[in-house]
């Protein structure tokens, strides 16, 4: 059953999150360097993720449109403050998206308060169930960045643990590193990934 997950979806407006992962750091630099094509490419790769995150949180297409536009406009205008050596563009865009969504939510809350309205925005219930999935895809981009920052041998160790499913014993022999070293790298790296996720979601 799982082998089918990678296949086409027929609905035209739906896209798969798949392509969000292969993003070249050369594009990061092109972006910061003011190459507009890098912005267009960023939109092509991450526009659907940004839009879907916004749609799941805000429940309205018009509001998701606003957030999507704002994210890319804000990103481009503040590109000089973006430092490719400190963050990868996908993770940076996700951060901007989260801020824009929370701005939109608080603006909405203020609006509701002002109106004291009983006719609150109706959230489209069908758009809710997948929110977790999409959030996790965004989190994955964030962790990808954090993994890169680990440097080696931590990165190599975590890569073998995560993507080759090796035990710490096997990693130790594969990389010819002492067992204790591998274990402590795993502990610190995992703790760092966990912390990054918690920071990202504002739960200390």
């Amino acid at each position: 059953m799982w082998v089918n997950r990678g296949h086409y979806r027929s609905k035209e407006h739906l896209m798969e999150a798949a392509a969000t992962h292969d993003w070249d750091s050369g594009l990061d630099r092109a972006f910061v360097g003011g190459d507009e094509r890098a912005l267009a490419e960023a939109y092509r790769r991450f526009g659907p993720l940004v839009y879907t995150l916004a749609l799941r949180s805000l429940g309205e297409r018009a509001a998701a449109d606003d957030v999507t536009q704002e994210v890319f406009i804000r990103a481009w205008k503040s590109r000089t403050t973006y430092r490719p050596e400190a963050a990868r563009l996908p993770a940076w865009l996700i951060g901007i998206t989260r801020n824009a969504i929370s701005d939109a939510l608080s603006a909405r809350a203020r609006q509701r308060h002002l109106e004291q309205a009983a006719t609150l925005l109706v959230v489209d219930p069908v758009s809710r169930p997948d929110a977790g999935d999409v959030d996790e895809v965004a989190d994955r981009l964030t962790l990808d960045e954090e993994l890169e920052k680990l440097g080696d041998p931590q990165q190599a160790i975590m890569r073998l643990a995560f993507y080759e499913d090796l035990t710490h014993d096997q990693i130790s022999s594969r990389l010819n590193l002492p067992l204790g070293t591998v274990k402590s790298h795993i502990r610190r790296s995992l703790a760092r990934l966990r912390t990054r996720l918690e920071v990202e979601h504002g739960t200390p």
Binding site: W2, V3, R5, G6, H7, Y8, H13, L14, M15, E16, A17, A18, H21, D22, W23, D24, G26, L27, R29, A30, D35, E36, R37, L39, A40, E41, Y43, R44, G47, P48, V50, Y51, T52, D65, Q69, F72, K77, V134, E136, V137, D139, L147, E148, D152, Q155, R159, L160, A161, F162, Y163, D165, T167, K183, S184, I186, R187, L190, A191, L193, L197
Partner: protein
């Protein structure tokens, strides 16, 4: 009672079947340890998450129109990028050109990544189960190499195009060294280089270098620290390329990665006009 060892919790989070019965009992009764384990397992789950299959909605074209207009972008970019296969004209290249028809099956980490509260002896690291998955994938006509290439490309931020050679020799490769490539005076191209050891033992030098306006072609070299000895590895035709490092080359003796502007004069020697250079930080 003492809490569980932090190393042990990490390995449990990764699905290694470790721990004594006493550890299990402690974990069952200790909110601190079980909370830590849950947090770590969540990190593992996210890091190993396969985004494929998560459906995203495509924003309407009015969004790009609004962005394009608000930022006064070039008319050449007026078309919604989402309606194109890639951004036009020399745009940053498509990194992995994923063809959904042959797209990789998720590398299913199975129970290892389950986010449910963790049993102390998770059944992951189940070596026996994995060949079965791979065979199923093969039977389904899925290109396994692409999957590993994607993992390499996306996950670790080795974001270069999975090369034909690296995809064929999937799944494992190990980063031996890397460096950034900095432009030399009169040049602007910069990028990075990394050396990966493929499972068959061969070493690949993976180069990425942004465009620079040069008159010749770009030669890829490794050289001694004092640049008195240079070995040519080939021609960098695009913004990225992979080059096999001959087995006899000891990178400790040739730690410099150098990209040169080679004139079209037929002279095989280094032109002495280097575009960018970096020094590999060798592990071990």
């Amino acid at each position: 009672m003492e809490h569980l060892d932090a190393d042990l919790l990490s390995l449990l989070a990764l699905g290694e079947p470790l721990g004594t019965d006493a550890d299990a009992a402690h974990l069952a009764g200790c909110p601190v340890c079980s909370d830590t384990l849950r947090g770590l397992r969540h990190a593992v789950h996210i890091a190993t998450l396969d985004p494929r299959g998560v459906e995203l909605e495509k924003p309407g074209s009015q969004n790009w129109t609004a962005i394009h207009q608000a930022l006064g972008l070039s008319p050449a970019l007026a078309t919604d990028p989402l309606n194109q296969h890639s951004v036009p004209r020399g745009a940053p290249p498509e990194r992995s050109a994923i063809d959904p028809a042959t797209a990789q099956a998720p590398l299913n980490h199975g129970s290892k990544t389950a986010s449910a509260p963790a049993p102390i002896r998770p059944s992951a690291k189940n070596r026996a189960a994995r060949p079965g998955l791979w065979m199923m994938a093969a039977a389904a006509g899925i290109i396994l190499g692409t999957a590993a290439g994607w993992v390499a490309a996306g996950v670790i931020g080795h974001t270069g195009t999975p090369s034909p050679s690296s995809t064929q020799t999937a799944p494992a490769s190990i980063v031996l060294a890397q460096t950034s490539l900095s432009p030399l005076p009169a040049h602007t191209g910069s990028g990075d280089a990394r050396v990966e050891q493929l499972p068959d033992g061969t070493r690949q030098l993976m180069i990425r270098l942004s465009n620079d306006h040069i008159t010749g072609f770009r030669g890829v070299w490794v050289g001694s620290a004092d640049l008195t000895k240079m070995v040519s590895l080939g021609v960098l035709a695009n913004e990225s390329g992979n080059f096999t490092i001959p087995a006899g080359i000891d990178l400790a003796q040739y730690p410099i990665v150098d990209i040169s502007n080679q004139p079209y004069n037929g002279d095989p020697a280094h032109s002495a006009d280097s575009i960018a250079r970096g020094k590999l930080n060798l592990k071990n």
